[in-house]
């Protein structure tokens, strides 16, 4: 196993000094405008699917550059004040080399009297705005997410550093027994050693547990990653760096429903509409879709559930508005097939044919023809 440096462009890693400078200059800008008796404005990129384009050669959702201008008026004064106070909090964090989770930032706002947030989603939105405004990763503004990055098991050694001594720590992901390695929040400085043939990314912790318990990674010579729903930025970045580094394919195994396809798989592969300025780094363009496809439901005679109202809406919306789905004919056909059948099937539905059918039959059969995976 050769030790190689991680490849791939890193996210624009502004130094603390640069971040502080950007914060100060934007604040100075606002102050100057006010003193010139003009209404201050903030230009923010529009954070939605409507403002992204997809080009396969680039491999991720790119921002189309549409911006909204938030002018300080009577109606926007509350959000404007909250955004500025969030920026001030960020400045404080960066200056003191401290961090705050999204939840903590929400609680800090409770000191802001009338400008406090009543629910965390409000503060999260403002935080996303601030992040997009400065065009940096929120970690660089001192804000970190609560969410877990994902679990890893299999043929991989992760090289991290001891927090105190700076010494290299070799973490062997084959040696977690029935447990797993947990992806940290920042993965940029990790290094890898591996001779795996591919990375298998799994939606549910339940399926991951089954594959780990039966040492599936040994049999298939692969790395297993559990996303636990929509993958976090750290999880996406981890898979991306590992795949780039070893030039190995990434196969995705999720539930056969619109959520699994358009939210989980699509976000992993090309990023989201919400944080489009960062998708370049938080995406895995080499990922392909192993299953469960709508055709699998037919081929494997899987037990199904009817599509719910929200599933139907999500599928129709994806066909109409999702630049990624729209780009691929096979995906449009797959979504239309699912809508026509009116049913969905979970990963665990394979258990109908025996608990280890997935290991003994389904995955080996599928992996014999990776060229048939959906893009």
């Amino acid at each position: 196993m050769a030790k190689e440096p991680a490849t791939g462009k890193k996210p624009a890693s502004a130094s603390n000094k640069q971040v502080l400078k950007a914060i100060a200059s934007s604040a100075e800008d606002i102050r100057r405008k006010i003193l010139a008796r003009k209404k201050p404005t903030m230009k923010l990129p529009v954070r939605s699917l409507a403002n992204v384009r997809y080009q396969p050669e680039r491999g991720f959702f790119e921002m189309k550059g549409r911006k909204k201008e938030r002018t300080l008026t009577v109606n926007t004064v509350k959000t404007f004040a909250q955004t500025l106070r969030m920026v001030a909090l960020s400045k404080d964090l960066v200056e003191n080399d401290d961090i705050a989770t999204k939840r903590e930032a929400y609680y800090v706002s409770k000191n802001w009297a009338e400008a406090r947030f009543t629910e965390q989603p409000e503060s999260d939105t403002v935080m996303d705005d601030v992040e997009a405004f400065f065009g940096v990763n929120r970690e660089q503004l001192g804000f970190i997410p609560e969410e877990k990055g994902g679990d890893v098991a299999g043929r991989l050694i992760v090289i991290d550093r001891d927090r105190d001594t700076g010494q290299a720590l070799r973490i062997d992901c084959t040696r977690f027994g029935s447990g797993a390695y947990s992806i940290p929040i920042s993965v940029e400085d990790l290094e890898f050693e591996t001779d795996a043939d591919f990375i298998l990314v799994i939606e549910t912790a339940g399926m991951f547990q089954r594959l780990v318990k039966h040492n599936y990674w040994k049999k298939a010579n692969c790395v297993l990653v559990s996303m636990g729903g929509v993958p976090t930025r750290a999880c996406r970045r981890f898979i991306r760096r590992l795949a780039d580094f070893k030039k190995i394919p990434v196969y995705v195994f999720v539930d056969g429903d619109p959520y699994g396809i358009t939210n989980i798989y699509r976000t992993l592969k090309v990023g989201s509409g919400n944080a489009a300025h960062l998708n370049e780094f938080f995406c895995v363009p080499q990922a392909t879709f192993l299953g469960i496809t709508p055709q699998d439901i037919v081929d494997y005679k899987l037990p199904t559930h009817p599509l719910k109202e929200v599933d139907i809406k999500r599928a129709r919306d994806a066909i109409k508005n999702d630049p990624f789905i729209k780009h691929y004919r096979p995906w449009i056909k797959a979504m239309e097939q699912m809508l026509k059948m009116g049913v969905r099937a979970e990963q665990q539905a394979l258990a109908k044919h025996g608990l280890n059918y997935v290991i003994e039959e389904y995955l080996p059969q599928k992996l014999r023809h990776p060229e048939r995976f959906l893009p």
Binding site: A27, R31, K39, V77, K78, F80, E114
Partner: protein, 531 residues
């Protein structure tokens, strides 16, 4: 009857026409009503108490106004024992001539109002004697009257009870007494009733009467109070005297027509039509006779049934001018406002008096007033106050044309909320008055107005006009509230922009203050420009 027939009929004893005739006799009107008292508003103890007060007050107000006195009414309800109450209503009216007292209070259908068409509170002359009869039936106590017609005249004291069989008064006591009032009448009735507060209460009635009659002052002492509640006068203007009119041909029913023809003093049919009806000229009379195939010179008193029926049909086929409407005496917009203002604590008042209109030959006029906001509850159904000839209508709300008209309007268009098929919700009191020479009540207890299309139309137009004024007020009010909100927004959040900029740029307190004041100024200015 043979043995077998009797056996066939079982042991029951058969009646003969003769034996039945022995029991058949005339039923007096008083006897009829004593058995059907619900028809007159005495169906339950709570309503009986209210109806007794109401009938007495109606008479007092009518008498005062007719005689040109500003009414001052004293209503006292005293708890006697158990379910017994003693109601006393005293006015400062013209008093009643001694000889008339027993007939007015001791005989049903005796009155001055039934035989003429004129806007008044009472119509049939049933009310007060029926109240006295109800008192007598439930407590055995006679109705007590004290009345005096002028300062130099004696005050007469009567105790009267009605002979329900003969519909005649029986005088128990008749004497002259000392009375401090120079003129006026006091009626006292003891009856079985229930005293309650809230909806359908005497207090509600008194308040509503005060609203619709701002020229009247009322002292009301309920059984649980020692001191009277004083509802002050809101205006010193007596309503103009309503004028008496003859019936319009379109409004007359066949039965009434037959009676009028029998009783006319004219010798010829043509003359009778001209003399006894309004808006019938010689030409119109001739047209009616021609259409009916009757000679104008025929004797009206000898008309046969089929002839009168032809006459009745002919009337409705001839075009006759609408009746004069100057016989009505509406409350008037000013007075409606005065009434609402003095009794209701609200922010906004408006009133509309429609021009008179006609239903079935009867002139009528609709008035709507409303009070909005202030201390009225905003989350309850609006309070709908219905009046006919200035008398509050408290029962049978859902059967009333007024309610129907209110429900038919989409109040959401006027800034209120309203569920389907319900009264609107909001801090609103809605006052609706119908004045007419003959209010078409749906029953003798005079609780709801019948829904003639012409009446519904006038009600709708008046309600809409008030609704539009209300909507304008609500809009202006909301705009002002919005302004206020914006202003407080500016005051609340701009300091936070100052704090944030100070924290980021390490500003001094003065610099921070400069930013805040400038920003407040910029936004205040733009706000006033936006208007």
């Amino acid at each position: 009857m043979t043995e077998t027939q009797a056996a066939a009929a079982g042991t029951r004893k058969r009646q003969t026409a003769e034996s039945m005739a022995g029991r058949q006799r005339e039923i007096s009107i008083s006897e009829f009503f004593s058995k059907n008292r619900h028809l007159l508003g005495f169906d339950n103890p709570q309503k009986a108490l209210l109806t007794a007060v109401k009938e007495a007050v109606d008479n007092s107000l009518d008498a005062c106004e007719e005689a040109g006195f500003l009414p001052s009414i004293r209503i006292t309800i005293r708890h006697v024992e158990d379910e017994r109450f003693r109601v006393s209503v005293e006015d400062n009216g013209p008093g009643i001539v001694k000889a008339q007292i027993p007939k007015i209070f001791g005989k049903l259908l005796y009155g001055s109002k039934f035989h003429i068409l004129k806007q008044s509170r009472g119509q049939q002359g049933i009310g007060i004697s029926a109240a006295g009869m109800y008192g007598l039936l439930t407590t055995g106590k006679p109705i007590v009257i004290t009345s005096r017609t002028g300062a130099g005249k004696p005050a007469h004291y009567y105790e009267i009870q009605i002979d329900t069989r003969k519909n005649t008064p029986q005088i128990i006591t008749d004497r002259i007494v000392d009375w401090e009032s120079p003129h006026g009448t006091r009626v006292e009735i003891e009856l079985v009733g229930t005293y309650k507060k809230g909806r359908h209460s005497v207090e509600d009635y008194v308040r509503q009467t005060a609203i619709a009659n701002p020229h009247c002052e009322i002292f009301y002492t309920p059984p649980d109070a020692d001191e009277p509640l004083h509802l002050v006068r809101g205006s010193d203007l007596l309503p103009p005297e309503p004028r008496e009119i003859k019936p319009h041909p379109y409004g007359v029913e066949l039965g009434v027509l037959i009676r009028m023809m029998k009783e006319t003093s004219a010798r010829q049919l043509g003359a009778a039509l001209q003399k006894d009806f309004s808006r019938v000229s010689a030409k119109v009379a001739a047209e009616i006779c021609k259409a009916a195939g009757l000679r104008p010179s025929a004797n009206p008193r000898t008309l046969q049934g089929p002839e009168t029926e032809r006459l009745y049909k002919a009337i409705n086929s001839v075009k006759i001018m609408s009746p004069a409407t100057n016989c009505l005496s509406p409350i008037g917009e000013e007075q409606v406002l005065a009434g609402l203002r003095k009794e209701i604590d609200a922010d906004f008042f408006t009133a509309v008096t429609r021009t008179p209109a006609v239903y079935r030959g009867n002139p009528f006029q609709v008035e709507v007033g409303l009070a909005y906001g202030g201390r009225l509850a905003g989350d309850e159904l609006v309070d709908l106050l219905r009046f006919a000839n200035r008398v509050p209508l408290q029962y049978q709300q859902s059967a009333c044309a007024i309610t129907r008209a209110v429900l038919a309007i989409d109040w959401r268009g006027y800034g209120l909320t309203q569920s389907k098929g319900a009264l609107p919700t909001g801090p609103l009191v809605l006052f609706v008055h119908m004045a007419s020479v003959w209010v078409p009540f749906t029953s003798e207890s005079k609780e709801s107005v019948a829904a003639y299309p012409e009446i519904l139309r006038e009600l709708r137009l008046a309600l809409q006009e008030c609704g539009r004024k209300l909507a304008a007020h609500i809009r202006a009010h909301r705009r002002a509230a919005e302004e206020e909100k914006k202003k407080s927004y500016i005051e609340k959040y701009i300091p936070h922009i100052g704090i944030a900029l100070r924290e980021i740029l390490a500003l001094s307190e003065n610099e921070e203050q400069e930013v805040v004041t400038t920003l407040v100024d910029i936004l205040e200015r733009s706000r006033s420009r936006e208007r």
